[in-house]
């Protein structure tokens, strides 16, 4: 097999498993659930069993903390880690905008590189959108966020 083909395959794989993704997987941020919270959700990817529990703490319309626990593949776990980093300190409105942007990126089938001004490090997931089987892994935490934000607002 010509070496350039091996190189292409390796690059495809590296575009999925960006360094920053594997970093978050190995050193997850905001992992470990807060004992008090305004709302809590538990989401499971039924097809693969990946799961995440997500807690949210609000101060008015500001997200003061997101904390989570879960198990699953590097993509799902790194994604919730990065998301928690990104959304903490944002208002609910800002967060909704960022989440929508991320979901759009995951639907882009590899045609978008993502906007680093909005998504910061989470643009690293752009490569995931080329692998349809992995998009739901990347979205697990973000869908949990949408759910938990609605529940916290309904309560407050």
């Amino acid at each position: 097999m010509p070496p350039n083909i091996l190189g292409v395959v390796k690059m495809e794989l590296d575009s999925l498993y960006q360094e920053v993704i594997l970093d978050h997987y190995k050193h997850p941020q905001h992992k470990g659930l807060n004992s008090t919270f305004d709302a809590q959700v538990h989401h499971v990817n039924t097809s693969c069993g990946d799961e995440v529990t997500l807690n949210i703490n609000l101060d008015g319309y500001c997200i003061t903390s997101l904390s989570w626990d879960g198990q699953g593949c590097s993509i799902s776990q790194a994604s919730v880690s990065m998301m928690s980093d990104l959304l903490t300190g944002k208002t609910l409105e800002e967060a909704a905008f960022i989440v929508k942007n991320f979901i759009d990126l995951m639907g882009s089938k590899g045609t978008s590189i993502g906007d680093p001004l909005i998504l910061e490090d989470a643009v690293a997931f752009a490569g995931v959108s080329k692998f349809p089987g992995r998009v739901k892994c990347a979205l697990l935490g973000w869908m949990a966020y949408k759910d938990v934000a609605i529940q916290a607002q309904a309560k407050n």
């Binding site: 395959v9 360094e19 699953g72 692998f131």
Partner: protein, 418 residues
């Protein structure tokens, strides 16, 4: 005669293509679905090209040809399983899942006095290693009828624990339904003790043979079972066709499940009576082209010889288990001894998630399945959230196993030391 993999691969057009930027395809996912030989693909498409008409309907030549082709396939299946009552004992469904649901729903329709009628205090027995398709229909039947559901547990090695067989299969047990070969562990279950006990208490035995019929000679009469289900698409056949075999006297007594055209003897505005088996269970225009394709698939397997098929897979399973035993962070989930086990080998690799392992293997052209393999309770029992599964078939050889082993080592490096 033994199997020549290089010869066989020439019959499967899919192996002419490459994957992921020019890699040869190493297909180790036959447990999910098998690839198809050209003869099956052509049988299915020739049915449409040359003979297409509604079987058992229509007063014309094409309808006759379609009926012959469809009924010919039924006879092939009957011969393949050595059905003692012949072709009348073979029911075409759309899948094994439908075959098992047909049984569960039909039994749920049984009126009081019918041998299949269940009531509070009756028992249905399954095992902890069932595919959801042979678990959930029975859970539902139990909850609809008030019967209770019991199951055989599993040893740490992934074998059925039969130590308490008399407490599991009690006097009031009506149904025992279990898998012949686990789609996750590869375990081939010992049937004779279970069948003997089940029949002693008057229960019927249903075999989920999805993972055995494609891989070994299965003779329903010598096994002594009462019903059997398998899927065409795991046996070299097309999707959209499955088989339910049942003993003629039992099928005669079992009420229908789907009602409609072709399954009725007479109808008036207030009621209907049923055709004889198998028509009683085949309402509507059936999946004829797929049934014909399945007939061709079983003919292909018969020409190879099912004993040759199982000998080939047994040798290959031994080879792969041995190679795997040298990978220190690899743990086989299921029997590690090549004894009463088939070629479905599930494993974990350190703490690398199976989804990530599968993705890496895919980048090397190796197709495997990851997850809980539709047997969630089994994954919980074996205390693994998910596994990676390689499953072997007639078109695999030692070189496929070597590529897999190398790719597993690659995955260890990729996720371990970056």
């Amino acid at each position: 005669m033994s199997i020549s993999v290089s010869q066989i691969r020439k019959d499967f057009p899919i192996f002419e293509r490459t994957v992921r930027g020019g890699k040869s395809l190493v297909y180790l996912d036959s447990g999910a679905t098998s690839q198809k030989p050209i003869s099956v693909i052509e049988a299915e498409s020739n049915f449409y090209k040359l003979h297409n008409a509604a079987a058992h309907r229509g007063a014309h030549q094409l309808a006759e040809e379609a009926t012959d082709a469809y009924e010919g396939a039924r006879q092939i299946v009957a011969d393949f399983l050595a059905a003692p009552g012949g072709a009348d004992e073979i029911i075409f469904t759309k899948s094994a899942t439908e075959s098992l649901n047909l049984l569960a729903y039909a039994m749920g329709n049984a009126p009081i006095g019918n041998r299949f009628a269940l009531e509070r205090g009756d028992r249905i027995v399954v095992t902890e290693m069932e595919h959801h398709a042979n678990l959930v229909p029975w859970q539902q039947l139990a909850s609809r009828t008030g019967a209770d559901l019991a199951w055989f547990g599993i040893t740490d090695e992934g074998r059925l624990d039969l130590s308490n067989i008399d407490e599991i299969i009690t006097r009031n047990t009506k149904i025992v339904s279990l898998t012949h070969q686990s789609n996750v562990l590869g375990t081939i279950n010992p049937l004779s003790e279970i069948i003997t006990r089940a029949h002693e208490v008057g229960a019927i035995v249903i075999l989920d043979a999805c993972q055995s019929v494609p891989h070994m000679a299965v003779n329903v009469e010598t096994l002594g079972i009462d019903f059997l289900a398998f899927s065409g698409h795991k046996s070299l056949g097309p999707t959209g066709v499955g088989i339910l075999w049942g003993r003629k006297d039992l099928l005669d007594e079992l009420p229908p499940f789907l009602y409609g055209g072709s399954m009725v003897r007479s109808v008036d505005m207030t009621g209907a009576t049923w055709s004889a088996v198998p028509q009683k269970f085949e309402a509507g225009v059936p999946n004829m082209a797929q049934a014909v394709g399945l007939g061709e698939a079983l003919t292909y397997l018969t020409q190879l010889g099912m004993d040759n098929v199982s000998a080939h897979e047994h040798a290959l399973t031994g080879y792969l288990l041995e190679k795997m035993s040298f990978i220190s962070d690899l743990t086989v989930v299921g029997p590690t001894k090549n004894l009463s086990r088939g070629g479905a080998i599930s494993f974990t690799l350190g703490n690398i998630h199976p989804h990530d392992v599968g993705q890496y293997l895919d980048s090397q052209g190796v197709a495997v399945r990851t997850g809980h393999h539709c047997a969630w309770p089994l994954a919980k029992r074996m205390q693994v959230p998910a596994t990676t599964r390689a499953s072997l078939y007639i078109y695999n050889d030692e070189s496929d196993c070597d590529v897999l082993i190398e790719a597993i080592q690659g995955a260890s490096k990729y996720f371990g030391s970056r």
